[in-house]
Amino acid sequence: MPPLLEAQKITKQFPGTLALNQVDFSLEAGEVHALIGENGAGKSTLIKILAGLYQPDSGTLCINGQSVTFQAPADSLRQGIKVVYQELDLAPNLSVAENVFLGATPRTRLGTVDWRALYNRTRELLTELGLEIDPRTTIDQLRVAEQQLVEIARALSRQARIIIMDEPTSALSPSEIEKLFGVVRTMQARQVGVIYVSHKLDEIYSIADRVTVLRDGEHIQTAQVSATQAHQLVTWMVGREIKDLYPKTEGRPAEVVLEVRDLAYERVGPLNFELRAGEVLAVFGLMGAGCTRWGGCCLATCPAPAA
């Protein structure tokens, strides 16, 4: 049987960079396939190609062995591919039910919205996923985790066969992550294929079957998660040479100029550090990890809400 999704030799060139170079990727029904790599490795380009937002320069996409081309996101949706982005595309002022059935609202014979059917069908769907959310609640009253689950419910209501989750846990607490994983396992049982993009290796170990590592637009390795050590994954992810770009000369850090004590803001900190005159201090963090549009900011290096 052919795989649910098969991408072969996908190449995408942007002005100045080769975002994807002959990348292969496949997904089986009922499989959770993790996609990992550093910032700029090509993960988001691949996702956008699968979502129909970008067209590859070359390479083929097959779904159940049938060759497909996506000219627009609508084509991808029609093939049952649904991307759950970090920035959710839900209408915050509408109810859960309205969002789930947005664009496919059940109608009465008079052509008006059949509210009873709308709420009942949404409730069924949510129960099936083990969620206790009132379909009448408006989205903006939900926590980010719940919003994400509503997004998944919406995908399932449209008979999605492939769900792509882009850093889904970045804004979630451990218990919420467990709930999300529960839903992912339900989807697995329903033979939905899940592409799981993440920075967090521990999550990959708890949920994924296979893992594919990208680096600088190249496909590095695809392996069974259970047969791979964590340090092996890290080695695949990095291993790039630092070129002559950096004219670094040894500095002689002098007296302390900046002193930071117990600096805190929302979920950041408390942070303590010092900075010396003549010193270059870098603060490194992974992009995307822990940022949400609604301002909950978990990582000290991520965008906060516009003031």
Binding site: Y246, L263, V283, A300
Partner: protein
């Protein structure tokens, strides 16, 4: 903008203290941070940094305007000379100082923004993603600039999500994950593996397989 940069700079409400050269910075007051010698290069040039409708000169002198003003009157000649100096010093490619900054390339825009802070007598410069979205040539110029500034005794804080950049320019690296500092490495000990591990591997449950 990176939260940490804005926090230190006083552009977000904060608790705790930030002390620069023995003086405590007032919270919620970027002007105070600037007056005491701190500068912040924001990472989104177009959104947080550039005055797109204005000229190269106005963009460079924005934060140091009072230097060219006596009793609120701007000394245009002095301002143009200072801006012109930095256009030359940083090799900013522009036909003239009146050119709208909108028409410059990303790298040149970024150099103009760095020039904005070099015009100040800074002791601490915070650079948030200093090379995001600019060409390799400008990148290496900016790295050279950072190195120079440090040699002149400035304390430089670089907030970055680019590993090669961090390893290439830093004397010391702090790794941050979910708002907490998870590791600190001096230059000699920092490696890509260590940084990734400290930034990516979660604390709550290590593995599950």
């Amino acid at each position: 903008m990176h939260t940490l940069g804005r926090l230190l700079f006083g552009d977000l409400p904060r608790s705790g203290s930030v002390t620069l050269g023995g003086q405590r910075l007032r919270p919620n007051n970027p002007g105070d941070a600037i007056a005491k010698g701190m500068g912040l290069l924001t990472e989104n040039r177009k959104l947080d940094g550039l005055l797109l409708p204005l000229g190269v000169k106005e963009n460079i002198t924005l934060a140091a305007l009072q230097k060219f003003a006596t009793l609120t009157l701007i000394n245009n000649r002095a301002e143009a000379e200072a801006a012109g100096d930095y256009v030359q010093k940083l090799a900013i490619k522009t036909p003239n100082l009146r050119q709208r900054i909108r028409y410059l390339s990303g790298g040149n825009q970024q150099k103009a923004l760095i020039g904005r802070w070099m015009l100040q007598d800074l002791r601490v410069l915070i650079l948030s993603e200093p090379t995001r979205g600019i060409d390799v040539g400008s990148k290496s110029e900016i790295y050279r600039l950072i190195d120079e500034l440090a040699h002149q005794g400035m304390a430089v804080l670089v907030l970055s999500t680019e590993i090669p950049e961090v390893l290439g320019i830093a004397d010391r690296v702090l790794v941050v994950r979910e708002g907490q500092i998870t590791a600190e490495y001096p230059r000699a000990e920092a490696t890509q593996e260590k940084l990734i591990a400290a930034a990516a591997v979660a604390a709550p449950a290590q593995g599950g397989a």
